[in-house]
C-alpha cells in the first residue's frame, strides 16, 4: 500500500474450516451425504437427546492425520476433546465437541505460489470438531416469522485449520486458500467447495506501518463464501483500515461481515456479548492416542503433493511453469496427463509431453467442463488421447484433423485408429497428390496468382486454405506449404 506519508502492510491470518468427506459423522454413524431432506440424517446421538454419548469415528482421525503429516505438523501423541459451550438452535447439545488445550496437530507449513513467487505459510494448529446444523429462516417455508432448524449437518466432522498471520495481501490469502483447497483434494479428505460449504474461511486482518514488528488492532472478517469474495472482502477491509488510520482515527477490535451486495464489510449488528465458551475436557470421550505406527502407515500412503508434482512436471517433462500449474490443479487431471504420456509417443522430454499437455489443457479440459465430468469419467481416455498423439507424431493425421478425431472419440468412444480408418482421415502426404491439388487451385484462381506474384503476399493463406479444402483437410500442411511456395515462385 503506497499513497500518503505512511506505508502500511497488511497482516492476515486465516481460520479455515474443512468438512471431512467421511461417510459417517464424527461421533455417530449417520450419513454425511449432502442434500438430504431436512432432519432425515439424524439419530439420538447427533440430535443430542437426553442420555446419548459420542463415539469417535477413527476415519475422521485418519483424514486429519493425512493433512497434519502432509503439512509437516507436530502430531500430538496424546490429545483431548473439549466442550465449547454456548446456546444456539443449530447446536443441539448446547455445546460443540471440539479441541482446545491439546489439539491433534500444531505447527506445520504449506509452500504456496503467489504473485509468481514461492512463499511458505505457517500454521498454528489443526484440530477436529463437529459441525452444527443449519438455520433456515422461514420466508420460503410455512411460517415467515419462524426459523427452521435442519440438523442433518450436526456432527459432520470438521477440521479447523488456523494459519499464522503470514499473509500480506488479499491476493496472497486467496492464492493460499485455493492451494490449500487443492491439497485437501489431493489428500482426498475434503471436497473443499466453498459454495457448498465444505470449505469455509474467516480472516483476521490488521495493518501496521511497514517495517514494524508489532501487530495492529485485529478485525475478524466473516461471511466470505467464495474465493473471489475472500479477495474482495480482504482488499476492502485492508483499505478501510488504512483510511481510518490515515484520517487519524483508531480501529476497533470487532467482527465484521462481508456484504457482497454492497461490496463492504460491516460490523456485526447483534450485540457481541464476549463469548465465554467455558471450555473443559470432554468427559464422554477418552483421550486420543496416536501412535507412531499409525502415523507412519498414513505417511507412507500420502500421495505426491501438488507443488512437488508441479516441480516434477517441470523438471521431468520439461513443461513450462504455466502448464505444470494447470495440470496439477487437480490430482485426477495430473494423473490423466501422466498416463497419456506414459502410453504416448516415447519421448520423455520435448514434443510428446508438451503435445499431451496442450491437448489436456485445451480440448480435454473443455470437454470435461462442457459435460461436467471428472477426468476419470472422460470418454476420451488417456489411451485414446495417447493413440491419437502417436498418429499425429507419425504424420498419419495432421494436427487439424486430430481435432475432428478428438470430437469423434468423445462422441463414440472409438479408438483413434478406428476413427481415422472409418472416416478416411489419413493425412495425405503423397507428393504427387498434393502437387495435383495445388496445381488445380492455382489454375482455378489465376487472378489471385497474378496478384500474389505482383506482391500481395497475404494471399498465400488463401491458397493454403483452398488447397486444404480440395484435399478435404487431409493434406499435410507442411508439405502443402513447401509445394505451394515452389509452384507460386514459378
Amino acid at each position: 500500500m503506497r499513497r500518503g506519508a505512511m506505508e502500511y502492510e497488511a497482516v492476515i491470518g486465516l481460520e479455515v474450516h474443512a468438512q471431512l468427506k467421511t461417510k459417517s459423522k464424527v461421533f455417530c454413524g449417520c450419513s454425511t451425504q449432502f442434500g438430504a431432506p431436512p432432519n432425515t440424517q439424524v439419530c439420538p446421538v447427533c440430535l443430542g437427546l437426553p442420555g446419548v454419548l459420542p463415539v469417535l469415528n477413527r476415519r475422521a482421525v485418519e483424514y486429519t492425520l493425512r493433512l497434519a503429516l502432509a503439512l509437516g505438523c507436530e502430531v500430538a501423541p496424546f490429545c483431548r476433546f473439549a466442550r465449547k459451550n454456548y446456546f444456539y438452535p443449530d447446536l443441539p447439545k448446547g455445546y460443540q465437541i471440539s479441541q482446545y488445550e491439546l489439539p491433534l496437530a500444531q505447527g506445520g507449513s504449506l509452500e504456496v505460489v503467489t504473485d509468481g513467487a514461492r512463499k511458505r505459510v505457517s500454521f498454528h494448529r489443526i484440530h477436529m470438531e463437529e459441525d452444527a446444523g443449519k438455520l433456515i429462516h422461514g420466508e420460503h417455508l410455512d411460517d415467515p416469522a419462524s426459523s427452521y432448524v435442519d440438523l442433518n449437518r450436526t456432527g459432520v466432522p470438521l477440521l479447523e485449520i488456523v494459519t499464522a498471520p503470514d499473509l500480506r495481501s488479499a491476493a496472497e490469502a486467496s492464492d493460499f486458500l485455493q492451494q490449500l483447497r487443492t491439497l485437501l483434494q489431493y489428500l482426498d479428505i475434503c471436497d473443499a467447495n466453498m459454495e457448498e460449504g465444505s470449505l469455509r474461511c474467516d480472516a483476521n486482518v490488521s495493518i501496521r506501518p511497514a517495517g514494524s514488528r508489532e501487530l495492529g488492532t485485529k478485525v475478524e472478517v466473516k461471511n466470505m463464501n467464495s474465493f473471489r469474495f475472500v479477495r474482495r472482502a480482504l482488499d476492502y477491509e485492508v483499505e478501510r483500515q488504512r483510511r481510518v488510520l490515515e484520517a487519524g482515527g483508531t480501529l476497533v477490535q470487532e467482527t465484521r461481515l462481508w456484504d457482497s451486495d454492497r461490496g463492504v464489510t460491516l460490523p456485526m449488528r447483534t450485540k457481541e456479548y464476549a463469548h465465554d465458551y467455558r471450555y473443559f475436557p470432554e468427559p464422554d470421550l477418552v483421550p486420543l492416542v496416536v501412535d507412531r505406527e499409525w502415523q507412519e502407515r498414513i505417511r507412507a500412503e500420502l500421495p505426491e503433493l501438488p507443488l512437488a508434482k508441479h516441480d516434477r512436471f517441470v523438471s521431468s517433462y520439461g513443461l513450462p511453469d504455466y502448464d505444470a500449474g494447470v495440470l496439477t490443479a487437480s490430482r485426477a487431471l495430473a494423473d490423466y496427463f501422466e498416463e497419456t504420456v506414459r502410453l504416448g509417443p516415447d519421448r520423455r522430454r520435448g514434443a510428446a509431453p508438451k503435445a499431451a499437455s496442450n491437448w489436456v489443457m485445451g480440448e480435454v479440459l473443455r470437454l470435461l467442463n462442457e459435460r461436467k465430468l471428472e477426468p476419470p469419467e472422460c470418454p476420451v481416455t488417456p489411451a485414446h488421447l495417447a493413440g491419437m498423439l502417436k498418429l499425429v507424431d507419425e504424420g498419419v493425421i495432421s494436427g487439424k484433423i486430430a481435432k475432428a478425431v478428438f470430437e469423434e472419440m468423445a462422441d463414440s468412444g472409438q479408438m483413434p485408429e478406428e476413427v481415422v480408418r472409418a472416416k478416411g482421415l489419413t493425412q495425405v502426404t503423397d507428393v504427387a497428390a498434393i502437387e495435383s491439388a495445388v496445381e488445380r487451385v492455382l489454375a482455378e484462381n489465376a487472378d489471385q496468382v497474378a496478384a500474389y506474384r505482383a506482391g500481395k503476399d497475404k494471399l498465400f493463406g488463401f491458397f493454403m486454405g483452398q488447397t486444404m479444402k480440395v484435399t478435404g483437410g487431409k493434406a499435410n500442411p507442411a508439405a502443402v506449404q513447401e509445394i505451394l511456395r515452389k509452384k507460386l515462385a514459378g
Partner: protein
C-alpha cells in the same frame, strides 16, 4: 430374586406382575416411590415373558418385575428425570442397561421417583412430589434414587436400577434397608442414562439382597461400544463366587470417616459390623485417607460444572417444555424462549447447581475452581490407591445419619450436601462402592455399611457383603407398612 424366578415356574410372570401391581396400588398412596406406574407395559412384558418360558426359553431375569429410576431412557414411555422440563419427553430408544434387562426377560413395573436430574440426597427435589421412607413415612428415603430404594423396601418391585454420582444409590439404600451397588466407573454403560456429571455417573442395582444385586450386575454390566468410557474388559459372573467368605480379607477402617459429631447410632452400627466381619475371619486395621475432607468441596465444583454443560440441551427448542417467557425487546424471541423454558422447567436445586457450575468453568475462574478440583480428585484417588496396597476393602458408614424428616434440610442446601460426605470420595476415585443393611436405630430407622473396593473388584465387595448379610439378617426385616 432367584426365589421369584423359581416361583415364576410355579407362578406365572403375569401373576407375579399382577401381585406387584396390587401391592403398588396398596402402598403407593403412602410411599410414592413411582413417578409413573406402567401397568400396560408391565402386563405386556409379563405376557411376553410367559410366552418365552412356554417356548422353553431361559433367561436370567425372565418374568422378574423391576422398577427403573426415571433417569434412564426407556423406549416409548416418558423419561422425566424428575423434572418438569422433561415431563412429556418420550425417549425413542432404550438405555443399554434397560435393553439388556429387557433381553434378559425383565418386566418393567414403572419409572421410579428421584431428585430432579439426580441432584439431591432426599428425593424431595422431585418435581412430582417426594417419596416417603417406608420405614417411617415422615422421613426421607434418601436420594437421588429414593424412589428405587423405597420401591424395593416396600416390596413394590423385586429389584430396581438406580444411578449414583455422589452416593445416590448407596445413601438411599442405607436409609431404606436395601442393598445398593455403585459399580466401578466404566463397568456399566452410561448410554441412555441422562447425564448429570459425566465423569462420575454410574448405573447400579438396588435389591433386597446381595445375590439379586449380583444377578442384576451380570445382566447390565459389560462393555458397550456406544459408551466410549465403558471399560472393554471381560465381565465376571458376579453370582459365581459369592460364597467365598471373608477369611483373611483385610479391611481398612479410615480414621477420617469417623468424625466428631457423627450420629452415634450410625457409628455404632458400623463398628458392630466391622466386629462381625472380624468374627467371620476378616482382619481389620486402621487406614488413612488424608484428603477425605476436601472431597466434598471438589465434588461440588466438578459435578455442577459438568451438569451445567450437560443440562444446556434443555432449552425448549426440540423436546420437553417450551414456555413463553417474558418478552424483552433487548433479548429477542430466542433468548426469551431459552430463559422462559428453563425458568419454568428447572427446580431450585438444579438452577443452583447450574449457576455454580457455570461460574466454576467461566473465564478467570476455571483454574481456581475446576482445574483445582480436578487436582484434588487425583489426590483422593491416590489416597485410595495407597490404602489398597495394604487392604482389600475399606469399610465406612454409608450415611452420617439415618433418615431425617421430610423438609428438615430443604432450607439449607449445604446441610443436605453433607449427607454424601462418606459416599462422594468413591465417585471421585471411580472405585466401586456397595451399601448393605447393618442394623436399625432405636427409632427403627435403617443404617447402612459401606464397602469400597479396588477398581473392577465388585466381586470382593459382593462376597464380603454376602457373608455379612448371611450372618446378620437385617435384610430380612420388613417395613411396617
Amino acid at each position: 430374586e432367584l426365589r421369584e424366578k423359581l416361583k415364576a415356574r410355579e407362578v406365572s410372570a403375569r401373576e407375579a406382575a399382577e401381585a406387584y401391581l396390587a401391592r403398588i396400588a396398596e402402598v403407593e398412596p403412602r410411599v410414592h416411590a413411582y413417578i409413573a406406574v406402567l401397568e400396560e407395559e408391565a402386563r405386556r412384558g409379563a405376557e411376553e415373558a410367559d410366552a418365552r418360558m412356554a417356548r422353553g426359553e431361559d433367561a436370567p431375569l425372565l418374568g422378574v418385575p423391576l422398577a427403573i429410576k426415571d433417569l434412564l431412557c426407556m423406549r416409548g414411555v416418558a423419561t422425566t428425570c424428575g423434572s418438569r422440563i422433561l415431563e412429556n419427553f418420550r425417549a425413542p430408544y432404550d438405555a443399554t442397561a434397560v435393553a439388556r434387562l429387557r433381553e434378559a426377560g425383565a418386566v418393567f413395573l414403572g419409572k421410579a421417583n428421584m431428585d430432579e436430574f439426580a441432584m439431591g440426597s432426599s428425593t424431595e427435589r422431585s418435581a412430582f412430589g417426594p417419596t416417603h421412607n417406608p420405614w417411617d413415612l415422615a422421613t426421607i428415603p434418601g436420594g437421588s434414587s429414593g424412589g428405587s430404594a423405597a420401591a424395593v423396601a416396600a416390596e413394590e418391585c423385586a429389584g430396581a436400577l438406580g444411578s449414583d454420582t455422589g452416593g445416590s444409590i448407596r445413601q438411599p439404600a442405607a436409609l431404606c434397608n436395601v442393598v445398593g451397588l455403585k459399580p466401578t466407573y466404566g463397568r456399566v454403560s452410561r448410554y441412555g442414562l441422562v447425564a448429570f456429571a459425566s465423569s462420575l455417573d454410574q448405573i447400579g442395582p438396588m435389591t433386597k439382597d446381595v445375590y439379586d444385586c449380583a444377578l442384576l450386575m451380570n445382566v447390565i454390566g459389560g462393555h458397550d461400544p456406544r459408551d466410549s468410557t465403558s471399560a472393554d474388559i471381560p465381565l465376571p459372573d458376579f453370582t459365581g463366587h459369592l460364597e467365598g467368605g471373608v477369611r483373611g480379607l483385610r479391611l481398612g477402617v479410615p480414621k477420617e470417616y469417623f468424625i466428631e459429631g457423627m450420629d452415634p447410632e450410625a457409628e455404632g452400627g458400623v463398628r458392630g459390623a466391622i466386629g462381625k466381619l472380624a468374627e467371620l475371619g476378616a482382619e481389620a486395621e486402621e487406614v488413612s485417607l488424608p484428603h477425605s475432607e476436601y472431597a466434598l468441596a471438589a465434588y461440588y465444583v466438578l459435578a455442577p460444572s459438568e451438569a451445567s454443560s450437560n443440562l444446556a440441551r434443555y432449552d425448549g427448542a426440540r423436546y420437553g417444555l417450551r414456555a413463553r417467557g417474558r418478552p424483552s425487546a433487548a433479548e429477542g424471541p430466542l433468548v426469551t424462549m431459552y430463559k422462559g423454558s428453563r425458568e419454568a422447567g428447572f427446580g431450585e436445586e438444579v438452577k443452583r447447581r447450574i449457576m455454580l457450575g457455570t461460574y466454576a468453568l467461566s473465564s478467570g475462574y476455571y483454574d481456581a475452581y475446576y482445574l483445582k478440583a480436578l487436582k484434588v480428585r487425583t489426590l483422593v484417588l491416590r489416597d485410595f490407591q495407597r490404602a489398597f496396597e495394604r487392604v482389600d476393602l475399606i469399610v465406612t458408614p454409608t450415611s452420617p445419619t439415618p433418615a431425617f424428616r421430610l423438609g428438615e434440610r430443604l432450607e439449607d442446601p449445604l446441610s443436605m450436601y453433607l449427607s454424601d460426605i462418606f459416599t462422594i470420595p468413591c465417585n471421585l476415585a471411580g472405585i466401586p462402592g456397595l451399601s448393605v443393611p447393618c442394623g436399625f436405630t432405636r427409632a427403627g430407622l435403617p443404617t447402612g455399611l459401606q464397602l469400597l473396593g479396588r477398581p473392577f473388584d465388585e466381586e470382593t465387595l459382593l462376597r464380603a457383603a454376602y457373608a455379612y448379610e448371611g450372618a446378620t439378617g437385617h435384610s430380612r426385616r420388613r417395613p411396617p407398612l
